[in-house]
Symmetry: C2
Subunit: 150 residues, 2 copies
């Protein structure tokens, strides 16, 4: 009886641990899905209304060329739609840690050009995007190695 | 007896699950520590001998300005030592997912200048660094928001 009770207590404790780890894993996968869907709606479809549904109560912007908040995103997507309607962003890699999702992206503003390598970092709260950082580098014509930027 | 055996079996199964999750978590923390130490030895101390101990059997380079392999890193650190001996890289954020470690970095080549925002992505195998990607963007003088690039 004592052994049975101990085993049950251990099972319960471990269930809690395993469930916690599983929850974190699930949230990470949910966050990745949210960011990938948001990116497609925003950067490729250039649809602010659809993209804005993925934003939380704030959208803190660290890209130095974009104004803060959802209005900054709206203006940026308007700019893309008008100046680079055929621009396309291809996600090469999706990584996540805690509340952060990281995208490694090949962005081409005009088809046939080399485009840029970008890393975007998004912070999420309760499955919604609340903050964004990025680093953008034009892909050079020549490289010192044959591995490509991705 | 049956209940006790079932509880023990459940406890064992959950122990395996929890241990797996804990192992992944531990490996992630080890990987972060390896990359942060490597970065300090390489970029700040510019000590190729010390930094190269963190490399695995290959070092596949995707930075278009650096040659492939450990020799490319050696040449780059030699260049930094000679041209920008006071250059300093401050790690702002360390993230990890599976075999990948991501650093968000403020790199200043000459003290007093604005420097660049960088995201480095490292891939590890058995706790050793085997591949590197990065994206580098000079920090502009003016920004459309007041949040900074980090």
């Amino acid at each position: 009886m004592i052994r049975s009770t101990l085993a049950l207590a251990a099972a319960l404790a471990l269930t809690t641990l395993a469930a916690g780890a599983a929850d974190a894993q699930t949230q990470k996968e949910v966050n990745k899905k949210v960011v990938v869907e948001f990116y497609e709606k925003a950067l490729n479809q250039k649809d602010f209304e659809a993209a804005s549904k993925y934003l939380g109560s704030r959208y803190t912007q660290h890209n130095p060329n974009a104004a803060d908040g959802p209005e900054g995103l709206k203006a940026f997507l308007g700019f893309l739609k008008e100046k680079f309607p055929a621009s396309h962003s291809e996600i090469k890699r999706v990584l996540a840690d805690g509340d952060y999702v990281i995208l490694h992206v090949h962005a081409v503003r005009e088809p046939g050009t080399r485009g840029s390598a970008i890393v975007d970092v998004f912070k999420l709260e309760n499955g919604k995007i609340v903050e964004h950082w990025d680093v953008v580098q034009p892909i050079p014509e020549k490289a010192a190695n044959a591995n490509g930027m991705f």
